[in-house]
């Protein structure tokens, strides 16, 4: 049972790491222009665009999920 548990977790970890490495190559680095986006809030009504803040305020982006 413990072996199966560790093997499963290792497989998922490897899968996550592969995803990260594949996309991190194209992710913006310090000094790069941040990719613009437009998203809606949890109600689906209020919209925000990253470029709305250009020339006005710095923006802290916090990415994550509930799990």
């Amino acid at each position: 049972m413990p072996l199966k548990f560790f093997r499963e977790n290792l497989q998922y970890r490897n899968k996550h790491t592969a995803w990260q490495k594949a996309h991190d190559i194209h992710a913006p680095k310090v000094g790069d222009l941040a990719p613009d986006f437009e998203l809606t809030d949890v109600t689906g009504v209020k919209t925000v665009r990253l470029s709305d803040f250009r020339g006005k305020r710095p923006v802290a982006l916090i990415f994550g999920s509930f799990t």
Binding site: L33, F37, F63, F66, T67
Partner: protein, 139 residues
């Protein structure tokens, strides 16, 4: 330094955007909710959910994001990535990541890959440096 504290301290000078992306540890994926691991997650991340399935529609993702926003109660408005994960992919953000974008639209701080480099204290240093650069030099 927690995100909530960062927000409280800097939200008059910095726009905080929380972007909800695909689940890191859903029940139907790399689930951390069972057994000893589940108990550890509950103990050290009591506000995190361990019973969510990976949303398959934007409505489900918005609902999960709303629960998360209410549970964490950072005060930061949450915006939801679309189901094509376009913003998540553009920023290589999954499962979690921090950035600071300057007024010129350029990246001032890019944390390393999450969750290992998810340190609000590093974001705070970047904010402090950025704000200090904006202040006029003392006479």
């Amino acid at each position: 330094m927690r995100l909530h504290d960062l927000y409280q301290r800097y939200h008059h000078q910095v726009e905080f955007l929380s972007v909800y992306i695909r689940e890191a540890h859903p029940v139907d994926g790399w689930w951390l909710g069972k057994g000893l691991l589940g108990r550890l997650v509950k103990r050290f991340s009591p506000k995190a959910s361990t019973d969510l399935h990976d949303p398959t529609t934007i409505e489900e993702r918005r609902a999960a994001a709303g629960q998360c926003q209410d549970s964490l109660a950072y005060g930061i408005r949450t915006y939801v990535d679309e189901m094509d994960d376009a913003v998540n992919k553009a920023y290589a953000a999954w499962p979690t990541r921090l950035y600071l974008i300057g007024e010129n639209g350029r990246v001032e701080y890019a944390a390393g890959l999450g969750p290992y480099d998810f340190w609000p204290s590093k974001l705070q240093r970047a904010i402090e440096q950025h704000l200090a650069q904006k202040e006029p030099a003392a006479a």
